[in-house]
Symmetry: C2
Subunit: 340 residues, 2 copies
């Protein structure tokens, strides 16, 4: 019996099988929500005919849906349409699967639950009695305590997760710099930053060479290339400088400062979560495209220093790197069915 | 001899004559810089045949220009083209006009100088010996000390103005909320804000009824209408809530908090500028679409409380309301020519 795990996000559709096969398809759902079924059919193509589907999602947050309830119903109905008479189940933050009708009836239990699927599978798979999952993505960071081989998150909805600092709205690519720091060092003093989307954390990590330059990548704040030179120009604009007033040295100093502020934000969040636990963390599991920053966090944070570190993509399936939550939900569904 | 004042911005072209006639034309220069001449011709149409032109600008900052120098040259050449053999002069931050060739040769003196034209004319016209011009716009705020009937700004370029807090990158419409506050009150606690451009200060002031609702205005963060109801939905998204989790009461509490933070930012800037002056301010001049906030600042700030308040559009030409810098540069040019 083959189970296909699905993580249906607002900008990307991800599928993975429990054996590690995975696929990712870019699809901005807010632009054409009615095309979701057709996009899912294309996404499923490489997987032959799975016998059932396990689903988690964040796409219900897209602003084409008036409410999360409307988004959850739309996503689940699209999956059902493509699945036909094959079973579909949906992961919820109470730590179990639920039938489509029940998910639609109680949408807040399944809305934005993909982090919970990843945390639940990770805790169980690595038998983590007392640890922290740190998943740093392009936009947000999840910091999920894992206790007794389960997720021990204090917050379950996104507003509650923001309040518990288990969701920190900061990431390594899309975060506007004006949401990280008020000012940066500049030629012996400090200069306030423009409140504009002129540059993002991607520029910071390009300049610091944590992210590779890519002349063919135009997913940047100004639509120009993801190169160090262009990142310097974007960062200059945050100080209302142009390139002539802002050397590569200036750029490195500002970038390092912003990276330090971001690390401090994450470190404070980890500290607050740690203070709610009965024991210090023993293990840290790193995941996501920002795992380079998570590794640095493990060094910088007093709470995490000395913990055993597990890097998810390296120690499990390579599918984890691109489609971690889809892979996790497939594995959870397989485990729920018991040994084959 | 009729002089036409021009304020050439990145998103709006403004023209005003010294008699108070004014025109504004929306034009996003970064989308089609080569159309500037044609747009200027249309802008000039209502004014008959002015005998000369006085220019100030900010359009050189648009990211279609690789450097400010390139932008300044582009703007001045377009004006010259349309002016033909009529004289053109450009305001610079040393407090005088300069010929086009000299402006192109030293672009940083004329780049983003429109605030300086407004401050210079205001100081002279109202004979302000010891005061502060507060011009709060959609995106930024200028706080310019006026001493001895002249601008007494400490910073002349934009990076220097940011550092002196005479330019504060905060305004009443376009400012992303994640650049103002880290978190807001929410149901008895605080909730961090998403680092996204989901909502702006326009939503805050719509909810607080400082800005009027306008169902036909779609210049908002999500392109939906500028109404209280839609602003509530946009603000909800900043807490990862949807409308069902975020009442109008929640919205008012969050909006009031953000407005208070913004007022505090401006109050701190005014305080820092005051500390550099030899005497306390006696007069405050208010200008811009955010003059309602500037009036509140005069009450809230210890530095400004008790000062005589001049509201520019009320006490001069109505043109000031829409095209203050263009009007100022026309008046400066007329005054420079001496009595008719």
């Amino acid at each position: 019996m083959s189970i296909l795990g699905l993580d249906i996000g607002g900008a990307n559709l991800k599928a993975a099988a429990a054996d590690g096969q995975a696929a990712v398809r870019s699809f901005e759902i807010w632009k054409a929500p009615d095309r979701l079924e057709a996009e899912l059919e294309s996404l499923f193509a490489p997987f032959g005919q799975p016998s059932q589907f396990a689903v988690t999602m964040t796409a219900e947050l897209a602003d084409c849906f008036a409410t999360k309830a409307e988004g959850v119903a739309h996503v689940i109905r699209a999956v059902q349409q493509v699945a036909g008479d094959r079973p579909v189940r949906v992961w919820r933050t109470s730590g179990d699967f639920v039938e489509p009708a029940a998910a639609i009836a109680e949408p807040l239990g399944v809305a934005a639950a993909n982090w919970h699927a990843l945390a639940s599978w990770t805790a169980d798979h690595f038998q983590i009695d007392n640890g922290l999952l740190i998943d740093i993505g392009s936009t947000t960071t999840d910091l999920i305590p894992l206790v007794g081989c389960k997720s021990a998150a204090a917050g379950l909805t996104d507003p509650a997760r923001l309040q518990s600092t288990e969701l920190v709205y900061t990431g390594v690519r899309r975060t506007p710099l004006c949401a990280v720091a008020v000012s940066v060092p500049y030629r012996g003093g400090f200069c306030p930053l423009a409140a504009e989307l002129f540059a993002t954390t991607q520029d910071v990590y390009l300049i610091l060479q944590d992210i590779d330059s890519d002349e063919s990548d135009f997913h940047t704040a100004d639509g120009r290339a993801a190169t160090v030179e262009m990142s310097r120009a974007r960062l200059a604009r945050m100080l209302c400088c142009d390139r002539e007033e802002f050397s590569l040295e200036d750029a490195r100093g500002a970038a390092q400062f912003i990276a330090n502020v971001q690390l401090q934000i994450l470190s404070t969040a980890a500290q607050r979560i740690s203070e709610r636990q009965s024991e210090p963390f023993e293990t840290v599991v790193l995941s996501g495209s920002g795992s380079f920053l998570a590794a640095r966090l493990c060094e910088a944070s007093e709470t995490l220093r000395g913990c055993k570190v597990i890097l998810l993509p390296t120690e499990t399936s390579p599918a984890i790197a691109e489609a971690a939550c889809a892979y996790a939900v497939a594995r959870l569904a397989k485990d729920a069915d018991g040994p084959a």
